[in-house]
Symmetry: C2
Subunit: 354 residues, 2 copies
């Protein structure tokens, strides 16, 4: 493997000195880029794109050709693991993802296999290897997965949900069944992330998109506990380097003291919490990633620059900050506005690292 030429992301996640704040963007490979939409149209379905290592590599590289980003992130879907568990992932046009066979009772949970990810998710590890080769050490590659709880919401509801009715009924009435589901999912996620590391991922991110929908105590039992189980099982040292892990619970700002103890090197944060408060409350024992409101990118480049400055100021001086949005970039955002954000991080952040 080539030597890593830009290790800002890894250094910032290790809270080691950097010359400027590293920046990458959740969903940086995505629909806001016209070149992505072209490849997507060519690929057929969204899952066809994810399953084609060559095209997945191509769309992963696209944002790096436009913007001076400090990391690539594997292009894939968060629901590959439940799909590999046999739930039958499909997409209805104009709707979110769906599963043909949602898992709603003890028998269905018991029957659920923990997949051999090296076999069933080979298309992902193939994409990882290919992207690593293509990156040729320019920036590190981030692998990722959904958290067990977040994957569980789709597995039980069978689709995106507003009220999480079925999984919450399970959580309250048959917690043992849900724990079995989450344990199996956590084991699959652990294997999946480790397979990504073995294939070349140099950092990992776990997306807990729906953890914030839980009551405070239920979050601890059904989301955080299984994130911890996954993190405990991850390969943390590979190819002579630490493989840092970022855990992101959207809407989890209230709970960051507890989240900071989950074993992750960094916490992803949405825009509802000030980085100043987050840094104080986590006692600088984890790195922080975020947290510009993605809607800021609808504003003018001048405003975007002001908001980037605000976020950098809120974190303040020193290492331990990875600049990012607080959630994925919206499909309607003009790429030039993304550029304004990246450029502002480049220009304004060195002052915080002198």
């Amino acid at each position: 493997m080539s030597e890593l030429l830009n290790d800002r992301l890894l250094r910032a996640l290790g809270r080691e000195p950097v010359d400027r704040t590293p920046v990458w963007i959740m969903r940086q490979a995505g629909r806001y880029l016209p070149e992505y939409r072209e490849v997507r149209a060519e690929a057929g379905s969204f899952m066809d794109l994810c399953r084609n290592a060559e095209l997945a590599c191509e769309v992963t590289m696209q944002p790096l050709r436009r913007f001076d980003l400090d990391a690539a992130i594997l292009f894939s879907d968060i629901l590959t693991v439940p799909d590999a568990m046999g739930l039958g992932l499909y997409f209805e046009p104009g709707e979110g993802p769906r599963f043909e066979r949602p898992v709603r009772d003890a028998a269905a949970v018991r029957a659920l296999p923990v997949p051999d990810v090296h076999e069933s998710l080979r298309y992902v590890t193939d994409a990882v290897s290919r992207i690593r080769r293509e990156l040729a050490g320019s920036v590190p590659l981030i692998g990722f997965s959904g958290s067990p709880w977040t994957l569980g919401t789709y597995m039980v509801e069978g689709a995106s949900s507003k009220d999480f009715r079925h999984i919450k009924a399970l959580a309250y009435d048959q917690p043992a069944v849900l724990h079995e589901l989450l344990d199996k999912t956590a084991r699959a996620v652990t294997d999946y992330l480790n397979a990504q590391v073995e294939a070349g991922a140099q950092a990992l991110m776990i997306f807990d998109t729906w953890g914030g929908a839980l009551a405070h105590d239920a979050y601890e039992r059904f989301s955080l506990a299984y994130a911890r189980q996954v993190i405990d099982g991850l390969i943390r040292q590979h190819d002579g380097r630490r493989v840092p892990v970022v855990f992101f619970t959207k809407g989890g700002g209230l709970w960051i003291e507890r989240i900071a103890d989950c074993g992750a090197d960094g916490l992803g944060l949405d825009w509802t919490i000030s980085l100043d408060e987050a840094r104080r409350r986590t006692g600088d024992r984890v790195a922080l990633q975020g947290n510009l409101d993605p809607s800021t990118l609808y504003a003018s480049p001048a405003t975007i620059r002001d908001e980037v400055r605000r976020v950098l100021n809120e974190f303040g001086a020193g290492s331990g900050h990875v600049f990012n949005l607080g959630h994925g970039v919206h499909p309607q955002i003009p790429p030039d506005h993304v550029r304004a954000m990246v450029d502002a991080v480049h220009e304004l952040s060195p002052a915080f690292h002198e």
Copy 2:
């Protein structure tokens, strides 16, 4: 007006002693009740029901006939104020509310009238008077409005939104335009709530359903500031009694110290924060209303009872707690499960007031 026979709600909001924790339910008059669905079908459209004082009174009374609740809440829509401002509220079947004429630029904001609520919202104050007569002092009547920010999201987006794209672009790029919109809306909301008090509302609730979508600093400027403006302008003493105000920002748990200073007597809370933490962080200077996860009501009555106990325990001993869900009751909930919750509050809460 008849003497008030059950003043638990008013006493709890004033943090005065009560014999048990008062309980009411957000959206207690609503689709989960078969008798509501009958009246709704008879009324025609949803707005026809809101505009018919007799039927609005009837559906307001329905949950009180089934359950031993400590308050009635006016049945109405949160978007009556922007409708009275001329935006043309309508409902598409299966979709949320929409406005025919969203307000998206300086000229449209300037042209926006502050309505004479006594005229254009007479149908609401008529319903309030009628409900007061019908209640005959059995329990207090809560009047309500959306917060200026929350009304503003619908006024600018023209509909429910996931990303609040248009109003956030205004907030970031043309803050003066948005401030003018929010100021006008705040004045209309103040007049509207005061008209409800004059017509007989004995407590008020301001719903800031979408405040939690804002970045922490933007929340302060665009939501909390205008809630404060409204609260500052409210009639707080009427008919020889204090008219308490509850302010509820869904997803606002991170910010409750600041929210507790908005002038409200009570804060509504969703289920993401423990009442124990909320009580500690607000220093017992406001009452707290909430905060059972509405999805708990999908579970069995025995589980519901356990969860009610947990919420009561989290608040702990003493007055200052109004039991409620952390958001509106879902339409699919069996009424018997609502009864299990109300009964559990009745049975378990006296121990906290000895």
